[in-house]
Amino acid sequence: MNWELIFGQITWNSFVFAGAIENPSLSEFIASGAGTVAVLGALASVILLTVKRWWVPLWRDWLTSVDHKKVGIMYIVTALVMFARAVIEGALMRAQQLSAVDNSGFLSADHFGQLFSTHGTIMIFFVAMPFITGLMNYVMPLQIGARDVSFPLLNAISLMLTIAGAILIMVSLVIGQFSTGGWTAYPPFTGIHFSPGQGVDYWIWAVSLGSIGSTLTGLNFAVTIYKKRCPGMTLFRMPLFCWTTLCTSILMIFAMAPLTAATIMLALDRYAGFHFFTNGAGGNMMNYANLFWLFGHPEVYILILPAFGVWSEVVATFSSKRIYGYTSLVYATMCIAVLSFAVWLHHFFTMGQSANVNAVFGIATMVIGVPTGVKVYDWLLTMVGGRIRFTTPMLFHINFLLTFILGGMTGVLLANPGIDFQVHNTLFLVAHFHNMIIPGVLFGMFAAVQFWFPKAFGFRLHEGLGRASFWCFAPGFLLAFFPLYWLGMMGATRRTYMWTDPAYLPWLALAMAGAVLILTGFALMVTQIVVSVRRRAELAAPLGDPWDGRALEWSIPSPPPDWNFAVLPEVSSRHPFYEAKKAGTAYRSPTAYEDIEVPRNTATAPLIGLFACAWAFGLVWHIWWLVVVSFVLMWAVVIARSFASDTEEIIPAATVKAANEAFLAAVRATPGVTRDQEMTAANRGRAVPESLEGGAGVLSSGATVGVSR
């Protein structure tokens, strides 16, 4: 019996537990422990779903759904699950580096290599990307007054491809090893000659699935913004979050392609004996570096721009004021998006090109700092003349302004080739990009969760626990990463599992303390969600507007109905809902309702995701029958779907009317709350605009106007 025909290169020794049996050491036990947690986690989910009889609802209401809101939530859940793994890996690396001053610590060099590779790969491709994609999915269509994205099924397929990639990385915890080539996977180290085995293949296929998903997302969102805006919503009336979504989508379309090309070429090198990036036979790894960073630099802005959009929404809402310099912010965003394609070379100033080339790219990098600086000061000026409430999202925003600008300073330092020559590949660089991504992107997403959670689920998150988690996250970040700047200047290289210089010790200890605080912050955030779910009756805000919001998404119920808007809104300003509340014209019954067409749920996307995952797994382990079968099945699903004609269902006008009128009646029956009561049980989601506060008369007249229509 030829087992290899069936199982490819998988053998008994491929399982992580075999390592612990054959070579018992703490490093191996930790690896096995992680594998066990992955297996037990999957098992626990299966048991929970079975016991609670959630399989059917999970399939019917979620996995097969093409509703942008559900797709968005599934993206964010994926991001949070993957974040849990990758943040623990980060803390583990901190502990190893602390314990390994002048000895080899508790992790093996190989295990450490896998840890920094999975940590980086997961955090970028399976935390940050799904987080921003999920958020854009949820919020953008609501803000432009649309019922869904332009291509709902494509959207679901993007999600399922991303989840397929995430599953592949989770499987690598249990079966086989992951790459030790870092998240950038530079050849020739990641070529077959220097990295035999499946590790790099896991990286290649997980990243390829994610990047194809993101390309499709970019196309989908850009088209949605161009074509699906509600009447009156000109581009310059869009909320800033939609502008940043548009720029990010355009970047995704152009930037993911070089990455996909690079991973496929690397795969050809490894599987088919090509020589794109090998040492010999005309291969040249410099081409990889260029392709990778042609993606990699715009990627940074793909991540940060949606976060900038979140900050713009948060600062205006919690200052109860218009955003300062809207037009300026739009142009700054566009400048950043365009310039982000002109700076990739600063990731390898050290590759030996001429000083002139380095200088040009260094200056281009500094020029990007200009629009970014403008944005930071626009947010500061937005607060001027406002009435600032120090809610959890706002605390994250204040922290962002102060720390991001410091990260900007170290970024400008790194833009200098002369300085980069010294601190490239050191912990200084590691500190810099964490300084941009954590307070900027990650905390931006956390703020967004606090901000839009009541919209998605109909109840607020517990504010006290939210602030507690902030007070762990923010100082935790400072402690964990600012010592790394100094370590990097002292010459501590990145991706190093042991040290000889005792001078590093106090700084590594501080960083470890920071990592502990970050873990505590995350635990508090999880607690916050659990506690809030339990107290959801008391925190309920079904009327849709808990924060005295300004854009369209706050004008509809929480959670929004499948069709989002009972009647597509017509807007005539940048702050349509805020203006309506002020004028007393919000919550009016529409004159007429119409039937609404929504796409039917379909098994297409989850099946494609399933077969894509199986296909990638087959490729990693050279299980050729699985590769062929799953590839055929994947396309069979696509072909079968192309014959389906009954893909839409009609929601009758009567149903829409009943739901909407019930909502409007509930709103009218509920007194609005002032911002003083924002965090109390009285806040059911009907807000008295801050600018009208104190005038009880206006409030009641607003209610009468509502009823009179």
Binding site: M351, G352, G373, M409, Q422, M490, T493, T496
Partner: protein
């Protein structure tokens, strides 16, 4: 330069402010040559200039938060959204700053180009990056070492680098910044040490299990001591031939530096050529040769003629 005083002050303040009294022989915080000294002082210049945008935020944000907090003294103007004067300020200052920073960057980058020789008659050392050690070849002296770079004080040195394995990044932080060493290609780094003593050099690009320990000793000695060192090394019986190089290709960690009394001439070029057997010249160059500056032309001609 009239700003020399300020620059020097800042350069001294940067390391001192962060932590007093730490010796970092493996860092540009303690420069042992003009390039690293220039890098740390440039670090100070750029940091100082950046304070122009950072300080206002740290001053203004607390004031704004205090004044415009809910219940604060600030006037509530919910519809205020624009002011031409402020707009000019928030665009103008960063633009002017980017101009100043860009000028400083341009000057520093061209002046401290790693390809620019730091004086006449530089000592030539050829460096081959291996897993997980560095091979140093002294073609003029006819000696070679493993994981030991001996340099004469106050004499310009031209390091030519290539790799016998994966890409690595070569750095001696106290002397100059890093440059990649890549197989089949040659890069260059010019350094000058102006203090005697032992420095740390290392690879900063992850290249497998031995990466963490891939460092080497850089011994800067007086010119007489260097001449004497060459003579002692020449007397070593160990020699490095093609077969010896093949054994070095196997990944290993070197605990003690190795000295070779002589080595097969042209070894460096053979290492480069070994990756492109089809190409007779075997001289792919990592750099783009579009530069028009004189020292670059000189450099390229020299290489083409070799």
């Amino acid at each position: 330069m009239k700003s020399r005083g300020i620059v020097g002050l800042v350069a001294a303040a940067v390391p001192a402010a962060a932590w007093p009294g730490i010796a970092c022989a493996g860092s540009f915080l303690e420069p042992a040559g003009p390039i690293a000294a220039g890098q740390i002082s440039h670090f100070g210049v750029i940091s100082t200039l950046m304070l122009i945008v950072i300080v206002p935020m740290f001053v203004a944000l607390p004031i704004v938060l205090l004044r415009y907090r809910r219940g604060g003294k600030g006037t509530y103007r919910p519809d205020w959204e624009f002011n031409w004067g402020l707009e000019a300020l928030i665009w103008g200052v960063p633009v002017a700053l980017a101009f100043a920073l860009g000028t400083a960057l341009w000057k520093h980058t061209l002046q401290h180009d790693p390809y620019r020789p730091l004086g006449p008659e530089p000592l030539l050392v050829e460096v081959v990056a291996l897993d997980w050690k560095f091979l140093f070849l002294y073609p003029e002296q006819g000696v070679a070492t493993l994981d030991l770079l001996a340099l004469p004080e106050n004499r310009p040195v031209t390091l030519k680098l290539t790799s016998g394995t994966v890409m690595q990044s070569f750095i001696i932080p106290s002397l100059a910044g890093q440059i990649y060493a890549m197989a089949g290609m040659q890069t260059q780094l010019n350094v000058l040490a102006d203090k005697t003593g032992d420095l740390i050099g290392r690879n900063t690009q992850y290249n497998g299990l031995g990466f963490a320990t891939q460092s080497f000793k850089t011994s800067v000695m007086s010119q007489e001591a260097f001449a004497a060192w060459v003579q002692t090394t020449k007397a070593q019986t160990a020699a490095l031939d093609a077969a010896g190089y093949q054994t070095l290709l196997k990944p290993s960690v070197v605990s003690e530096p190795v000295l070779y009394g002589n080595f097969a001439p042209g070894l460096f070029d053979k290492v480069i050529a070994s990756f492109s057997p089809g190409m007779a010249q075997g001289h792919a160059h990592a750099g783009m040769s579009a530069s028009t500056s004189p020292h670059h032309e000189h450099d390229h001609m020299q290489e083409a003629g070799r």
